[in-house]
């Protein structure tokens, strides 16, 4: 087997830890795996950003904007957005290397088990959709791919209007832009929004806002990367 990123062949090192319980095959070699930085240690309890405070400045700012009624209860992310990750994401998302997403399968599953399994068991996964145009351009939705990794009921509740790519907008633009989401049907169960990256948190909050307005009791987010 070859590494999905660097294409070197992968030698599995068997040791006491995995001799009877083989580790799940990572499609990345150990060198590439080590380049990616898992978020650990102190982080903001609301948005998963590295922070020495319990709640980071960003989240306090959001709190003020929404006057204590932030539609997004909290966000949990798996990876730090370092340079290798930036390269990997661009190859995966923008250059259509669909299979590269497999590299995130088990870390994503493990993190989900760690942080969401004990949370509301009735909660339903909702992937952040792409607009029809964007979806046609890219061929796949990375958020749907991530959602499919998880062993939990998921519903494509949201629809997205076509517009400029988020990544091409400034922070201010993102936050105060018109809400691009619309709901296909209502839901009365808690929702976990799934997306690849939490950058400013604007997109997720737009989605959360729509859900909340339509009567969804609680919304949080699970994202692969904290930007």
């Amino acid at each position: 087997m070859h590494c999905l990123w660097c294409h070197d062949s992968i030698l599995v090192e068997v040791s006491w830890g995995n001799v009877f319980m083989p580790s799940r095959r990572s499609p990345l070699c150990s060198a590439c795996t080590n380049k990616l930085q898992l978020l650990d240690g102190r982080r903001c309890v609301r948005c998963s950003r590295y922070s020495n405070q319990t709640v980071c400045g960003d989240c306090i700012w959001w709190k003020d904007i929404f006057q204590d009624e932030d539609p997004l209860a909290w966000n949990y992310s798996v990876y730090h957005y370092n340079d290798p990750m930036k390269e990997m994401i661009s190859r995966w998302k923008y250059r259509g290397d669909y299979l590269l997403g497999e590299a995130f399968r088990w870390p994503f599953i493990d993190a989900f088990k760690q942080s969401f399994l004990k949370w509301d068991k009735a909660a339903i996964l909702v992937p952040i959709p792409l607009s029809v145009v964007r979806h046609r351009e890219r061929g796949f939705n990375q958020a749907e791919m991530l959602t499919a990794f998880l062993d939990r009921k998921s519903v494509a509740l949201l629809q997205r209007k076509d517009g400029e790519k988020q990544s091409k907008k400034s922070r201010q633009d993102r936050i105060f832009a018109e809400n691009p989401f619309r709901m296909k049907k209502t839901i009365n169960k808690p929702v976990i929004l799934v997306d690849d990256i939490y950058t400013t948190g604007a997109t997720l909050r737009h989605a959360a806002n729509v859900l909340k307005q339509q009567g969804c009791p609680k919304v949080c987010a699970f994202t692969l990367i904290r930007g």
């Binding site: 087997m1 030698l11 599995v12 068997v14 040791s15 830890g17 009877f20 319980m21 083989p22 580790s23």
Partner: protein, 761 residues
């Protein structure tokens, strides 16, 4: 499959264990493990199926070994035709080889006792060579198993090699042999190399070159081999990865660095050389393991395939088992694979060591700990300090002795320099052996475990693997906790006998002689009545054979290191010959002899108590009554101690070698003596066991200890007839092997007689 070969290898090993131990827990655990792997998606469906099929197939493919050996189809002297398999072994006493019978395809072990020690193959002109098609004359014989608990089972050992019968050649004159196989040339090369080495170097040095380069340790002294085994250093004497690695490195260095060969050609040289060297070096599994691993990696790299070392060892393991399923029973095979596998699994942990010393310590630790259950199973004994001794001795062998031996082997054809090295090496090696000897004396704190239950192995490995897992991931506190638990489990094994309410009286089968061992419940005492030995008529010496092969293994298998008392009935070798050896190796608290017993040299090394008729001796709160001798009858046999004691309601009378006169005196002095079990006097000789005596004491059981087909004709048919007429059940060692009486303290309904050879009374 890549990266997962070890899963298949573990499945093969589990299948083999299933056949070897036949314990329900093995398939249950194995299937639960596979299911777990499948459910947690750690193994693909195909691999789960392959693993399961391997388990089933090897459960069937590994031969089962029965302890009941077949009787050969024809036991008369006859001719047999077939092919000679493997190396023909010559010692100064015998000629031995394996022989595949043409008619029935049975494998025989053939031997011929040389009448003249100086005979060699050349002089015999028999053309008995590897691969020859022969007709030989002689008698087929049944394999012989062990006759005592703990005794080495030679028959089983042969059966595990696939041998079905033995065959004793009656003469060499009727042998007709034709042809050889290519193997023969390699064996001849080996013989020639050995002769050359012996001719060039001193006896001492050549014995080490033979052992470490040519895989023949028969020239090393028995004490050295014994000591190496006691201290778990034997792996140094077996040619293994270390040696193969060295010689491969040396060959590559010479051929490439000196510009003789290209890398490509050197690889091919290796591919040809390694199998030949494996055969020259004795063809032990450890040699094959190491050579095949190197071969595999060279071959795969030719096809641009790279696999992990764990995959490599797994593939070689499966390959060897497929080629020769009997190998799984080979102790060296088991040790070699287990230790190498353990070290490979730990390679990351060993690499993380802060210093060379620590990494040596880690290697030694893993090697010793991973084989502990096997060590218990085969040897019942462990030297805990051997881990430290290994750290000291292994580098000396790896960096000094083994390279030197290979250099000496290669330099055999140079005249002067080798001799210089020879002298220096001899000095060095002698002092190192002396050092080990010294340590053997001052640090000799063995743990004698006795036989361990199968479940112990499972629990031990579970705890050990957890300990290693935590050690590797740096969680040292947890690791320490698990390894402490492993030691704790061993402690429980050690103190087992102190919690057992079972007591035993065992008549050991020592051939022509007596040896009884009494183990009181809760290990309150271990008492022996006699400890016979055989007399070597050729050397006119007392042989330590009985001690080494029967007494010591029995005591070890029962976890005994201390003997509270030995009653020595009288001074004949067949009753007391092993006492000096016992005193040397075990803590013997006292030896009790009669007042008429002559003084002997070993008496200065142990506390001697002179006992008189009518006295009662309490040993470990158990009473032994001395009933004789009361008067000196000027005859060693008639002056035998006669001991009476009661075990859970059964009254035993041990007669020693006392004859009819003593029986008369005994009855005069003790007319109402209660006897349920009578140890018949003098091995059932007709000079003992008077009809009147037997009918008067009326035992229910009689015990007779005598050699098979002994020269004295013991036991006498008259005595057996007397006993049968009186309706007494007779246990005798020639038929029953060791006989064990088991009882529970304080209970009379749980008594049981067991014969080791399983002929039920």
């Amino acid at each position: 499959m890549r990266g997962n070969w070890h899963i298949v290898a573990i499945s093969v090993a589990a299948g083999a264990l299933n056949t070897m131990f036949n314990q329900m827990i093995i398939p249950i655990m194995f299937i639960a493990w596979l299911v777990l792997l499948y459910v947690t998606k750690r193994l693909r469906k195909l691999l789960v199926i392959i693993s399961f099929l391997c388990f089933l197939f090897f459960s069937y493919y590994i031969p089962t070994i029965s302890n009941q050996f077949e009787t050969p189809p024809n036991e008369s002297i006859r001719f047999m035709s077939g092919t000679i398999k493997g190396n023909v072994q010559f010692t100064d006493k015998m000629l031995q080889f394996q022989f595949l019978d043409k008619q029935k395809n049975d494998l025989y072990l053939v031997h011929y006792y040389l009448s003249n020690p100086s005979q060699s193959n050349k002089e015999l002109h028999t053309r008995i060579y590897t691969g020859a098609v022969c007709t030989i004359k002689g008698r087929a014989m049944q394999l012989e198993g062990s006759r005592n608990p703990g005794e080495f089972n030679y028959g089983r050992y042969l059966a595990e090699k696939g041998i079905r019968f033995r065959f004793e050649m009656t003469s060499l004159e009727d042998v007709q042999c034709e042809g050889t196989s290519p193997l023969h040339n390699i064996y001849q090369l080996q013989t020639r190399l050995k002769e050359k080495v012996s001719a060039v170097y001193s006896e001492h040095t050549s014995s080490w070159v033979h052992a470490l380069v040519l895989g023949d340790d028969s020239k090393l002294s028995e004490e050295t081999i014994d000591m190496f085994q006691r201290w778990s250093l034997s792996h140094l004497l077996a040619i293994s990865g270390l040696h193969i690695g060295l010689i491969v490195g040396l060959l590559y260095f010479i051929s490439i660095k000196l510009g003789i060969l290209t890398k490509e050609k050197a690889d091919w040289l290796m591919i040809v050389f390694l199998p030949i060297y494996a055969i020259i070096a004795g063809g032990e599994p450890s040699v094959w393991r190491a050579s095949l691993m190197v071969l595999l990696f060279i071959l795969l790299s030719k096809w641009r395939m790279y696999i992990s070392t764990v995959d490599g060892i797994s593939i070689v393991f499966i390959l060897l088992i497929v080629l020769n399923p009997s190998l799984i029973y080979h102790v060296g095979f088991q040790f070699s694979f287990l230790v190498t596998f353990g070290i490979l699994l730990s390679s990351a942990w060993i690499a993380k060591s802060p210093s060379l010393f620590i990494s040596m310590l880690r290697i030694s630790f893993i090697s010793q700990m991973i084989i502990l259950p096997l060590q218990f199973h085969y040897f019942y004994i462990v030297q805990p300090l051997s881990i430290l001794l290994n750290v000291l001795i292994v580098p000396y062998f790896s960096f000094v002795v083994i390279p030197l031996m290979f250099i000496l082997a290669i330099m055999v054809y140079l005249p002067v320099i080798p001799n210089l090295i020879d002298i220096v090496f001899k000095k060095l090696m002698t002092s190192v052996i002396q050092l080990i000897n010294y340590i053997d004396q001052v640090a000799n704190y063995p743990w004698i475990f006795g036989e361990v239950p199968f479940l112990f192995g499972i629990i031990y490995y579970a705890v050990f693997i957890c300990g290693m897992m935590f050690a590797q991931s740096g969680r040292l506190k947890r690791s320490f906790y698990y390894h402490t638990m492993a030691v704790f489990i061993m402690m429980i094994l050690l103190i087992r006998p102190y919690f057992s309410s079972e007591g035993t009286v065992t008549m050991l089968d020592v051939g022509q002689g007596d040896a009884f061992i009494i183990e009181l419940p809760y290990r309150k005492g271990v008492i022996m009545i006699d400890a016979g030995a055989t007399f070597h008529f050729q050397d006119e010496k007392i042989s330590d054979k009985v001690y080494r092969q029967v007494l010591k293994p029995y005591l070890h298998v029962k976890g005994i290191y201390e003997i509270d008392a030995i009653f020595a009935s009288h001074e004949h070798v067949d009753h007391v010959g092993s006492i000096p050896y016992l005193i040397q190796d075990f803590r013997v608290k006292q030896v009790l002899v009669s007042t008429f017993y002559p003084n002997e040299y070993w008496m200065k090394d142990v506390e001697i108590k002179r006992v008189k008729s009518g006295e009662s001796w309490k040993i470990g709160d158990h009473v032994f009554n001395v009933l004789a001798p009361s008067i000196d009858q000027k005859d060693a046999n008639e002056n035998s101690l006669i001991i009476q004691s009661e075990f859970a309601g059964l009254h035993w009378l041990f007669m020693g070698d006392a004859g009819k006169p003593s029986e008369k005196i005994l009855l005069e002095q003790n007319p109402n003596i209660p006897v349920d079990v009578l140890k018949i006097g003098h091995h059932g000789s007709k000079s003992s066991s008077d009809k009147d005596f037997i009918n008067h004491v009326q035992p229910k059981y009689a015990f007779i200890s005598a050699g098979i087909k002994n020269r004295y004709g013991h036991p006498a048919p008259e005595v057996i007839a007397t006993l049968h007429e009186a309706g007494i059940f007779v246990f005798q060692t020639p038929q029953h092997g060791a006989v064990i009486y088991r009882y529970q303290e304080g209970k009379q309904n749980n008594r049981l007689f067991q014969s080791y050879l399983q002929i039920e009374p």
